[in-house]
């Protein structure tokens, strides 16, 4: 076995209120594809950020090429040969492929001699790009604009960019999540080619098929802790899934029994071209219906189309048995359907507005008469919900932008709960919230179901889904892949369904 190129030992990472990583280790060797395995929130991304100099670890050591290092910035890590390719590529759409590859380190001319400012050498930008793309076997025109490329091609360009900087370690964070099967094959071929030239590759993916096909070695994380590592050849899918999900018992979900009543909302064969298809489900009074799946499975898209933010291309929606089709969220709010978005920073709070104004925003109709606001009634409502969700602030008159991220999220939840919905759709309700708040949010969700609300909860966290839901629908690649009742919940089965196909097992040493 080769000498490791990077060794992480006893790494821990604390954020206020959260222990993101706790005594984690990871050894990366050149010429090897290293799979980083774990559920969402297991700490993979945090670990990657530590490897690439975005975060400095709270504890532990990193050795790179045999020497202890401390990256002070992502730029420094990059200079030393560590490159990342993100899930969603970050590139300049209006610039050409060659410009994107060489941005920041473009070749310059030799003249004027002695001058510190030497002009760009465009001819070598083009020729070097062409050589690079050719050596990787890519059929992409160096002059093409990045905005005209497909997602797969963009990934390839990012890889070329990383190599143009002599990357020794290439980290790929779910590079295939937006690719078709053929594109994935091409990407994996390229990864193999790179591995054979001696580059170390850290590969993050939730698709086991891929991992078994490409990875040589794995490290499993769970809840910020190191669980195990080993050779992929000797690993079994069942065993890996158990390592991922088998969790400690200290996570309790205050799920209370609620009386499940009549059907409130029914979706029949919802369809949106290229995004999702054949989505049919029912939600009952008092029920919490979980939507589980990998990121990109189409869960949020279904919800957004359901409430009228995006248009549906087909299917029927019935609310209390009556067919409805919402053209805008205004219409669905009127029917008592409320959607709490996942991206609360961008779609949730109005940062420059006060906490009180944010909380009452969805119901300014109800709280005002003749188009005029009623500050007293607003303040009362805002105060009540801010207290209920324990928003930590100096007062409800302060702007939301003065709050911490977790408290901003609480304001957004408060806002939607204050709107008195009958059907509540929560998209990742506890993402990025600290543990204490998390359980109070879970308590509130449970209470609301007890009061007779119908709740749809989209979540990528399996323990949350299993702890809170009465029933779980699992989506995979835009379709419903399975449905489970609470009594039939099985972590491994649900996880496997979400990863596409419940019967696939790869045995030892399969080529």
């Amino acid at each position: 076995m080769q000498e490791p190129i990077m060794e992480l030992r006893h790494i821990s990472m604390y954020f206020p209120g959260i222990k993101a990583l706790d005594d984690v280790q990871c050894t990366i060797r050149p010429g090897e594809v290293h799979a980083l395995i774990g559920e969402n929130g297991a700490g993979k991304s945090t670990l990657v950020k530590i490897m690439t100099g975005v975060y400095r670890p709270s504890g532990g050591t990193i050795a790179y090429q045999g020497k202890p290092v401390e990256f002070k910035s992502p730029q420094e890590a990059q200079r030393q040969g560590i490159a990342v390719i993100h899930q969603e590529t970050a590139m300049f759409g209006e610039l050409s492929v060659a410009e994107n590859i060489f941005i920041g380190h473009a070749p310059t001319l030799r003249w004027p001699a002695f001058s510190p400012f030497k002009p760009l050498s465009w001819s070598s930008v083009w020729t070097k790009t062409a050589e690079l793309l050719k050596s990787l076997g890519m059929k992409i025109d160096p002059h093409a604009l990045v905005k005209d490329l497909s997602t797969a091609e963009r990934h390839l360009v990012e890889i070329a960019k990383a190599l143009s900087q002599d990357a020794r370690i290439l980290i790929m964070d779910e590079p295939t999540s937006a690719l078709t099967i053929r594109e994935t094959e091409e990407l994996l071929d390229l990864v193999r080619k790179l591995r054979d030239t001696g580059v170390a590759i850290v590969f993050i993916s939730h698709k086991f098929e891929e991992l078994f096909e490409i990875a040589d070695y794995y490290t499993v994380l769970r809840d910020g802790k190191y669980i195990g590592e080993g050779s992929m050849k000797a690993a079994k899918e069942d065993e890996l899934i158990r390592m991922m999900v088998g969790r400690s018992v200290d996570q309790l979900f205050p799920k209370k029994e609620a009386v499940i009543g009549d059907v409130v909302l029914e979706a029949r064969a919802l369809y949106q071209t290229g995004i999702f298809k054949d989505i049919s489900f029912q939600v009952h009074r008092g029920e919490i219906l979980g939507f589980f799946g990998l990121i990109g499975a189409g869960r949020s898209e279904v919800m957004r189309a359901l409430i009228g933010v995006e248009a549906l291309d087909g299917g029927e929606i019935l609310v209390y048995g009556k067919p409805k089709r919402f053209q805008s969220p205004e219409a669905s709010i009127k029917e008592g359907i409320v959607y709490v978005p996942e991206d609360r920073q961008r779609q949730g709070a109005v940062l420059a507005m006060s906490i009180a104004d944010n909380i009452t925003l969805p119901q300014i109709d109800a709280l005002s008469g003749n188009g005029f606001l009623n500050p007293k009634r607003e303040a009362a409502v805002a105060q009540r919900y801010a207290q209920k969700l324990e928003v930590k602030a100096a007062g409800i008159g302060y702007d939301v932008q003065t709050l911490s991220g977790g408290n901003q999220q609480k304001v957004v939840l408060a806002k939607w709960l204050a709107a008195n919905p009958t059907i509540l759709i929560l998209d990742e309700p506890t993402k990025g919230i600290d543990v204490a708040t998390k359980s109070s949010v879970h308590g509130i969700i449970s209470d609301l179901a007890g009061q007779g609300l119908a709740i749809i909860m989209v979540s990528s966290e399996l323990p949350e889904i299993m702890g809170m839901s009465d029933r779980v629908i699992v989506m995979y690649e835009g379709r419903i892949a399975g449905e489970f009742l609470r009594k039939d919940f099985n972590e491994e089965l649900i996880m496997r369904t979400a990863m596409g196909g419940a019967v696939r097992t790869k045995e030892v040493g399969a080529p």
Binding site: P329, Q347, A352, K392
Partner: protein, 325 residues
């Protein structure tokens, strides 16, 4: 009280007071009541134009067409005055508001319904409306002797010792201030400007807000145009040139964010007043008009830097406070 002191409007008011004291050390006439009254009268039109701009900045847009809307409305009512010299003031006002509203609503359709970015839409209409001034006037002025005495008395006509121009301006400002603070639509303007996708999810339509804001802005610009032509007793083809940017300057100095969603009516009034003071003071100390432009520019930059710093410090303090709780 603490909170009151922290507000940037308070800071600006204190700066204004300090500025007045400073200038009056050099020129004692500056701080007199009558000079302040004159400055207010001189600044009233800018205050209205700034109010019009304020509404659009709040939505996250910008309205470049304000001076052309002022000029076109001013020209139309002046020509109407030649034909109908004895129309009662109320009727003249209503017609003015209607013309301004129509011009603003056209901007509103371009931005709200056709989704053209505000800066582009109003770049078009600033030219179109200005061209319309020439079209209706045939390139001619309407000068003082052609205007009826009722018409030219509009900005003067003191009531309770205060000039007409200040009454119209004050009433408009108070109404807009109340509208923004106490009406549903006002709240929606702040919400849409602050975070469009979030506003959309709570059912507040950005398109509707754009349309309403531009329509109102147009009506207010129209009124500003009427007061401009009657105060100077001349409706010219180049009326109010450059007011769009002066109005932006007043708003920015008053603490309005050009990114939308934040700012107050009080701040805008103070910002415009500060610009008025600055012009007057610079003339008072005999500074060349070229310097005036430079100093105005400097004032804007200082205001922005100060705002940013104060904001950052306040947020820092807030965060520190929160962690203690």
């Amino acid at each position: 009280m603490r909170k009151f002191l922290k507000r940037r409007e308070t800071t600006l008011a204190l700066i204004i007071v300090g500025f007045i004291i400073l200038v009056s050390l050099r020129s004692p006439r500056f701080a007199t009541g009558s000079n302040m009254y004159d400055i207010l009268n001189d600044t009233a039109v800018l205050m209205l134009a700034s109010t019009a701009q304020f509404l659009i900045l709040l939505t996250g847009g910008i309205d470049l067409s304000i001076p052309s809307t002022m000029a076109f409305t001013g020209m139309l009512v002046s020509m109407l005055n030649i034909r109908e010299p004895n129309l009662p003031i109320v009727v003249v006002l209503l017609i003015t508001l209607a013309i301004g509203l129509a011009l603003g609503a056209f901007n509103g359709i371009l931005v709200g319904a056709l989704k053209i970015p505000p800066i582009i839409a109003t770049l078009g209409t600033i030219a179109i409306y200005r061209a319309l001034v020439f079209v209706v006037s045939g390139g001619q002025w309407v000068s003082a002797h052609e205007m009826s005495s009722i018409f030219v008395s509009i900005p003067h006509n003191p009531f309770l010792g205060i000039s007409g121009i200040l009454w119209y301006t004050t009433i408009t400002i108070v109404l807009v201030g109340l509208f923004l603070t106490y009406s549903k639509t006002g709240r929606a303007i702040y919400a849409v400007g602050g975070n469009r996708p979030a506003a959309r999810l709570v059912g507040l339509s950005g398109e509707r807000v754009d349309f309403i804001a531009f329509s109102l802005s147009g009506a207010i610009s129209g009124l500003a145009g009427l007061l401009y032509v009657t105060r100077y007793a001349a409706a010219q083809n180049d009326t109010a040139l450059g007011y769009e940017l002066q109005a932006v300057a007043a708003c920015v100095i008053g603490g309005v964010s050009v990114l939308g969603g934040s700012g107050t009516m009080v701040g805008v009034v103070l910002g415009a007043f500060f610009l008025g003071l600055l012009y007057n003071a610079l003339t008072e100390v005999n500074l060349s008009p070229f310097f005036q432009m430079g100093i105005q520019g400097l004032a804007i930059l200082v205001a922005i830097v100060a705002n940013t710093l104060v904001d950052r410090r306040n947020r820092h303090k807030m965060l520190a406070k929160r962690n203690l709780v």
